[in-house]
């Protein structure tokens, strides 16, 4: 019996990811399963779902079963510490799975890098995100956007602030048709927004998108933003990465780089992350931060179909069989790597590949 037989895919991935993050010097962050409800309510829109399981603690305080890990980590991070703190976690969170109305316990692995987030820290986080996806499946894709660059494209096209929430929704949906149709309503002519449309309708291939971005405006500020993005992306394996500006996290929390990861065979994103300096500011912290979470609940779908047999060998013994015979047979079988079960009578639902009667 090898490791893959014992571990479920999500368990195997969790162990592989923990060891990957440890190898990059991240230390494990442990936390309580509960937090005060009030804390989550104040930051509801940062959460995947605003449904939270609550209960009253013995002292009468309303508590919540943790629906998210990042918020707790940020809250428990001391501000103003020198250096950069790198932590990873492997925790269960409680929330409805996407597209479902019932609560689930969802295993989540992820990492956070808090402090001085420089270009290397961003590149390292993206590298680890890509390698995390590679641990799950060789067929994976990491979609990366830069909210600063997107916001600048939008500002230069002339969209007023009040149109932004609608605008970001349409960009997130890749709904270029509606965006073009409604731009005049926001006081922006389609010609004026041509550069934004060109970026949004591109293939997302990294080099050509970077070239397109670089060609859009000639001023120094723009050029420097684009070359910073190029520097960071250059360390990644291009075949699995796409510059996809439809990846828009909540703008109240995220800034700079944001990214989503997919693996073939799972219909929803399995990884999501970004720079969340704005969340830090909201929680009264001055440090920068970047991180991501891997949602392990979707990964169980990658399991190959269940085995035809529950066990390799069924050892059936009778009333008069010597105990030492049963024990000896079982030892022999299991040492040979077989999965065997010793019973007087086989449970009706169990199927074995081979039968030994003693």
């Amino acid at each position: 019996m090898n490791q893959t037989d014992v571990f479920k895919p999500e368990e195997r991935v969790a162990f592989a990811l923990r060891s990957l993050y440890r190898s990059y010097g991240y230390s494990q962050f442990r936390m309580s399963k509960f937090e005060e409800y009030d804390f989550y309510v104040r930051n509801k829109s940062f959460l995947v779902s605003d449904n939270i399981i609550t209960f009253t603690d013995t002292n009468g305080k309303l508590m919540a079963l943790k629906p998210d890990v990042t918020l707790s980590i940020v809250r428990n991070t001391k501000d103003g510490e020198s250096g950069t703190r790198k932590v990873y976690y492997h925790e269960n969170v409680y929330r409805p799975a996407r597209g479902s109305r019932t609560y689930r316990e969802i295993a989540q692995v992820g990492l956070e890098c808090i402090g001085n987030v420089d270009d290397y820290a961003i590149a390292e986080t993206l590298t680890l995100a890509e390698r995390s996806l590679a641990e799950i499946s060789p067929r994976h894709a990491l979609g990366i956007a830069h909210l600063g660059i997107l916001a600048e494209l939008i500002r230069r096209a002339g969209y007023p602030e009040e149109s932004h929430s609608e605008l970001f929704r349409m960009i997130g949906e890749k709904n270029l048709g509606e965006l073009k149709l409604r731009s005049p309503e926001f006081g922006v002519s389609v010609d004026h927004a041509e550069k934004l449309f060109a970026v949004l309708s591109g293939t997302g291939e990294v080099q050509s998108t970077l070239e397109l971005l670089a060609s859009l405006y000639g001023d120094e500020a723009w050029k420097s933003d684009v070359s910073a993005l190029r520097r960071v992306l250059n360390v990644l394996p291009m075949e699995c990465v796409r510059l996809d500006f439809s990846v828009v996290g909540d703008r109240n929390y995220y800034n700079g780089i944001v990214f989503h990861g997919y693996v073939d065979g799972v219909p929803d994103r399995v990884l999501s992350g970004g720079q969340y300096d704005k969340l830090m500011q909201k929680l009264g912290k001055t440090s920068g931060a970047i991180g991501f979470a891997v949602y392990l609940d979707g990964i169980e779908r990658l399991t190959p179909s269940a085995n035809d047999y529950d066990v390799d060998t069924v050892v059936l013994y009778g009333e008069n069989t010597a105990l030492s015979d049963v024990a000896g047979t079982m030892q022999k079988l299991t040492r040979a790597g077989k999965r065997a079960i010793a019973v007087r009578e086989l449970p009706a639902s169990m199927v074995g590949q081979e039968l030994i009667r003693l």
């Binding site: 597209g99 949906e173 048709g177 997302g204 997919y262 219909p267 994103r269």
Partner: protein
């Protein structure tokens, strides 16, 4: 072998119209025209696999990845807000979401407005935007009956030609949003079948543009 694109089409007239558009741009599947009870139709040469599903279920098939792409009405997308890409307005199945009331209805803003609808989220967003307090009555069909019998003051529903409304002495009092069929895609499929989905979208976009130009001429 090329991977097939799984396409969920809405059963009924709209689905048939939309299939003709797919067929016209090279994604034909002759077996779909045969009169039988099959649910899935494949044409390996064209790289497509079609299946018919209930119109309101298309978004579920696409969001959960059983279909890579699908065609759904904007009403369904607004109501259920599925996490999918909305790639193209197919400019067919055109109608509108509207508020309708008995002919001559006068709204009394001092009273809670009773709204009967199948589209609770759309109604909630619409009246929420106006700061209006409403009493929502969720119905599954024959919405027009509600104001006639005094169950509600108004209805929020899809209006195509307005014939049903007229025949029941109802009229549109406000338009909420125009509705048409949209091409939607699963977000993960879009990553892994990117070239195929982009090509299909482009071909359909050309077909739509031609049709629009023809209609205007």
């Amino acid at each position: 072998m090329k991977e097939l694109i799984n396409i969920a089409l809405p059963k009924g007239r709209l689905g048939e119209k939309v299939y003709s558009m797919f067929e016209a741009v090279g994604y034909d599947c002759p077996s779909i025209r045969e009169n039988n009870r099959k649910l899935i139709f494949e044409n390996e040469a064209a790289g497509v696999r079609y299946f018919w599903v209930k119109p309101s279920d298309v978004t579920i098939y696409v969001e959960r990845g059983a279909a890579d792409i699908g065609v759904a009405g904007k009403d369904i997308l607004l109501e259920y807000a599925p996490d999918v890409y909305e790639l193209l307005d197919l400019c067919t199945g055109n109608c509108r979401m509207a508020v309708a009331a008995p002919v001559g209805f006068r709204d009394d803003p001092s009273r809670t407005l009773r709204v009967a609808t199948k589209f609770q989220n759309i109604a909630k967003t619409y009246y929420g935007g106006q700061g209006r307090e409403i009493d929502m009555i969720h119905l599954n069909g024959s919405i027009e009956l509600a104001p006639i019998l005094g169950l509600s003051d108004v209805i929020v529903d899809i209006v195509e030609t307005g014939t049903t409304l007229r025949e029941n002495h109802l009229e549109v009092v406000e338009n909420i949003v125009p509705i048409s069929a949209r091409l939607i895609a699963n977000k993960a499929s879009y990553q892994f079948k990117n070239a195929q989905i982009r090509e299909l979208t482009e071909r359909l976009a050309e077909c739509v543009a031609k049709k629009q130009a023809g209609a205007e001429a």
